[in-house]
């Protein structure tokens, strides 16, 4: 075609702009990290030595093993809680079902590091459960180390497996289970041979999310590790010790973390590729009514799991109202901790809101444009954008932050300032939440509506703003809320980038916990939880399917 393509030129410009933004903010930092991992810190020349060191020195090898160990066991634990929970909720009448899924969602969105230090307050060396049993002369196992991290991961990440498996179970035609029963299967055989394989894709997707998040998690091993190091804490420590020089070991460890996540995802996709089941949902699953001890047992399990998982959050809120004097709880209730955050950390609060809101404004605008490009324009560029939207899920915060710092700030060269850097990293890391929600909203809008607007004389941008955008507003808002929740709770990448003027609530909480200032940490965490809770409530009111909006 030799003639200039006039039509839709607006969207070609948008596509190009999006690709440029993603290239600069996503691909460039990752490539920078990748390149640095092959650089010799002393000579600046090419070397494989960093990788040799990472795979030969015990310090790194142990970190590697530890990461896989807590990642795999944490994921396994999440599955052991999540799958039965999903099955019970999907197949039996459970009293308080909405309550269970609400609590599971709250667990999901609560700041990850809160769990870790709340368990310290319960089971740490001076925890109240520890002290209670000590007063009875019983010594309780310590929470520090691998088993504590696995416990926190299990209780933190099971909602992914639960919510995804539950959705899949609700979509398994009852006819399959009836047929199995008709052919002579006992209920257990039926579950194992028919139901479980049918929902395996959903389970494995939930599990892979748990695994990737476990690998990337920084707060939990940093707070509970006590000498038990994972790759994320090693990369962070390496970055801190290499400050001034080239952070080559930090980036090498980062690349290894990313490689683990990606390999896990590729393996899961491989396995799933052979298991695609088409199913028509003509015969909806029916919930059975249990009686007697089975009924009691199932209820105790379901409510028990979500209550235990909520325990850290409740402890944090409770602690925030305890009277303190410095780091010491003096007994009785009061607002001392809240007075202290207003005195000590007003900047953290305003920064957190400022950075997150600024990022969310960008995310909202880009989500609308990107989802239009992905849904309405099927070409190589939109396919590439769709693929790139998966990348931020896979790149641990520590890695992304090191990439950002080494790309946009070196020595006296500082392209956008620390505030700009934080806003941009929140933007790129949380953009997929906005895009995903907006995309699913846009898929429900008939393309003929935009065509009608264009036909009536509206140029592409005008048609987009007057017809498309008003119709995807619910999806945009849900996406913005999700990205806000995840941005304001961001810890690991902030910790690498922030300076004295740009501290945020999660960083302040992390530092307070390290200083043993549990009262201050609890009050700040409660503020964070309140923001998060308000957003979750808004999502509940706006989303079509409240459970699946969060996973």
């Amino acid at each position: 075609m030799s003639r200039l393509r006039l039509r839709f030129e607006f969207w070609s410009v948008v596509t190009a702009m999006v690709l440029v933004v993603l290239a600069v903010l996503l691909i460039l930092p990752i490539l920078r990290v990748l390149m640095l991992s092959f650089v010799d810190a002393d000579t600046g020349g090419f070397t494989l030595g960093n990788y040799v060191e990472a795979f030969t020195r015990n310090y790194y090898l142990n970190g590697f093993k530890n990461t896989l160990f807590v990642g795999v066991l944490g994921t396994l634990g999440a599955c052991l809680l999540g799958i039965p929970l999903a099955y019970f909720n999907a197949r039996f009448h459970i009293w308080g079902r909405a309550w269970i899924s609400t609590l599971a969602i709250l667990v999901l969105v609560a700041p990850p590091f809160i769990g870790a230090y709340a368990w310290i307050m319960m089971l740490g060396s001076n925890g109240f459960i520890t002290n209670f049993f000590a007063s009875l002369g019983i010594s309780t196992p310590t929470i520090y180390g691998a088993h504590g991290i696995i416990l926190v991961f299990t209780l933190k990440f099971f909602p992914f497996v639960f919510l995804m498996t539950q959705t899949a179970l609700n979509a398994v035609s009852k006819s399959f289970e009836d047929a199995a029963e008709n052919l002579g299967c006992t209920p257990w055989q039926r579950f194992r041979k028919i139901t479980l394989p049918l929902v395996f894709p959903a389970i494995s997707t939930g599990a892979i999310i748990c695994f990737v998040l476990s690998i990337a998690d920084f707060g939990t091993p940093a707070i509970l590790g006590r000498g038990f190091r994972t790759l994320s804490t090693i990369a962070f420590a390496a970055y801190r010790s290499e400050l001034g020089g080239l952070p080559t070991m930090a980036v090498t460890i980062s690349i290894i973390m990313m490689a683990i996540s990606m390999l896990a995802l590729v393996a899961q996709r491989r396995i799933l590729a052979k298991r695609r089941y088409a199913s028509s949902l003509t015969n909806l699953p029916v919930k059975a009514r249990l009686t007697g001890w089975r009924n009691t047992g199932v209820h105790v399990f379901c409510h028990g799991v979500v209550l235990v998982a909520m325990l850290p959050t409740l402890v944090v809120i409770y602690t925030s109202f305890l009277q303190t004097n410095g780091p010491v709880f003096t007994g009785g209730f009061g607002f001392e901790s809240y007075r202290r955050i207003l005195h000590d950390a007003p900047q953290a609060i305003t920064n957190s809101f400022l950075f997150s809101l600024a990022a969310v404004v960008l995310i909202t605008a880009f989500s609308a444009l990107i989802s239009y490009v992905i849904v309405r324009r099927e070409n190589a560029a939109s396919g590439a954008i769709d693929f790139l939207m998966m990348v931020p899920y896979l790149v641990p915060g520590v890695v992304m932050a090191i990439g950002f710092v080494t790309t946009f700030r070196s020595g006296s060269f500082d392209l956008v300032g620390t505030t700009g850097l934080l806003i941009l990293i929140y933007f790129i890391r949380r953009l997929p939440y906005g895009v995903r929600s907006t995309t699913s909203s846009l898929r429900q809008i008939k393309p003929s509506l935009e065509e009608a607007a264009v036909n009536l004389g509206a140029p592409p941008l005008k048609a987009f703003l007057t017809v498309t955008v008003p119709l995807i507003v619910p999806g945009l808002i849900v996406g913005s809320l999700m990205s806000f929740i995840t941005a304001i709770n961001e810890l690991s990448s902030t910790l690498i980038i922030y300076d004295s003027g740009t501290i945020t609530m999660p960083v302040k909480i992390y530092l307070a916990v390290l200083d043993g200032e549990f009262g201050l940490a609890a009050a700040l965490s409660t503020v964070l939880l309140l923001c998060t809770g308000v957003c979750v409530y808004a999502v509940f009111r706006l989303a079509d399917n409240r459970d699946s909006a969060f996973v």
């Binding site: 075609m1 003639r3 393509r5 006039l6 039509r7 839709f8 008939k446 003929s448 509506l449 065509e451 009608a452 607007a453 264009v454 036909n455 009536l456 004389g457 509206a458 140029p459 592409p460 005008k462 048609a463 007057t466 017809v467 008003p470 119709l471």
Partner: protein, 363 residues
């Protein structure tokens, strides 16, 4: 109100030819229908005129001015969509005034024109309703009002009635035609419903595999199809094998010498004979033909009596399946399958086509 000239229009999807060398001339004010089975290219042609697809080559002229390179939003052709495409977040009034606001028409005039057009489509009382409060038929009236209120040069309609139930479809069909006549607006209408096409159009354009098969008045399309595809697609038709031997030609089923009709056709060309079911008469037993008739002997396969008429299905000795629709004859209705019957038709009702899917008319 404008004439439309399309010449040498081509549209490819990869290697697939969606539109092949389309040439169309539409007189100002006429109702022009694109008719064909799904996948024939009719919707692609309509959307190319609207500017939603871009042609690979060829021109589209409205009132002599080329529009094929204009973006869709500057073509000034109104469009009515199959799925209505009524903006769900805007009231009826705001839907209809959308195009006028786009054209920066003064508010007072918008109010007047929207009021008028809503009267024309009989929705005057619904101006402040939201789309979800309207039935399908009412939504499509809004779609029509929205398209015609901007007084476009050409009105495009993409199967606008196909989502409505049968009764409503017939009512709205008449109303669409009435409004189109009153406004005198040049209209291009896409449908796969031949009855709709024949009932509404000034000109019906039958398309198949991206190629225009015939564009004529409804009566001509039905009575004088120019090729076998049109004869088969518009209305029902029986196709009987013809045996040719030099200058001699007869129906393979027997009962009719058709040498005279095919006298001028070169030898060796294979031919079929088309007979409309409603031109056939059916009698019991095997009887001989009058000179102006043909009489094809057959075995009865099935007869179904549906009240006003009877449908008789028979098989000739050459294996042709023949259907006749005729006034009920108690003697025929009472026959058992396998009985001998004779299909009879006037020679003037026979049409001959070259064999093959789109074989041309030969007599």
């Amino acid at each position: 109100m404008a004439s439309v000239e399309i010449s040498a229009l081509r549209k490819l999807y990869g290697d697939v030819v969606a539109l092949s060398d389309i040439n169309i001339s539409i007189p100002s004010g006429s109702f022009y229908t694109l008719l064909g089975p799904s996948g024939c290219g009719k919707t692609t042609l309509l959307r190319t005129i609207a500017g939603f697809h871009r042609q690979n080559s060829g021109t589209i002229g409205v009132e002599g001015a080329p529009i094929e390179d204009l973006p869709a939003y500057r073509r000034d052709v109104g469009m009515v969509f199959q799925d209505y495409a009524i903006f769900p977040h805007l009231s009826v009034r705001d839907n209809v005034s959308f195009g006028l606001k786009q054209r920066k028409v003064p508010a007072g005039e918008i109010a007047r024109r929207v009021g008028e057009v809503l009267e024309v489509v009989q929705l005057g009382a619904f101006a402040d309703r939201m789309p979800h409060e309207l039935s399908g038929g009412q939504q499509q009236r809004v779609g029509l009002a929205r398209a015609i209120v901007i007084e476009p040069k050409v009105l495009l309609m993409d199967e606008p009635l196909s989502n409505l139930d049968a009764k409503l479809r017939v009512d709205l069909r008449a109303e669409l035609r009435r409004i189109q006549r009153e406004l005198g607006i040049t209209t291009i209408y896409v449908t796969h419903d031949q009855e709709e096409a024949l009932a509404m159009s000034d000109i019906v354009c039958v398309m198949y595999k991206g190629v225009i098969q015939q564009a004529s008045t409804p009566l001509e399309i039905y009575m004088e199809p120019t090729n076998r595809f049109v004869a088969a697609f518009v209305g029902a038709n029986n196709f009987l094998a013809v045996s040719r031997d030099g200058t001699a030609a007869s129906l393979a089923a027997g009962g009719a010498d058709v040498s005279q009709a095919l006298a001028s056709l070169a030898a060796g060309i294979e031919v079929v004979c088309a007979i409309r079911p409603e031109t056939l008469h059916v009698s019991t037993g095997h009887t001989a033909a009058e000179p102006q008739d043909i009489a094809v002997p057959a075995r009865l396969r099935e007869v179904s009596f549906i009240g006003r008429e009877m449908e008789v299905f028979g098989t000739t000795k050459a294996g042709d399946e023949v259907k006749a629709v005729a006034r009920p004859d108690p003697q025929v209705v009472a026959l058992a399958p396998g009985s001998a019957i004779t299909f009879r038709a006037a020679r003037k009702d026979l049409l001959f086509f070259e064999s093959g899917e789109t074989g041309g008319r030969v007599a």
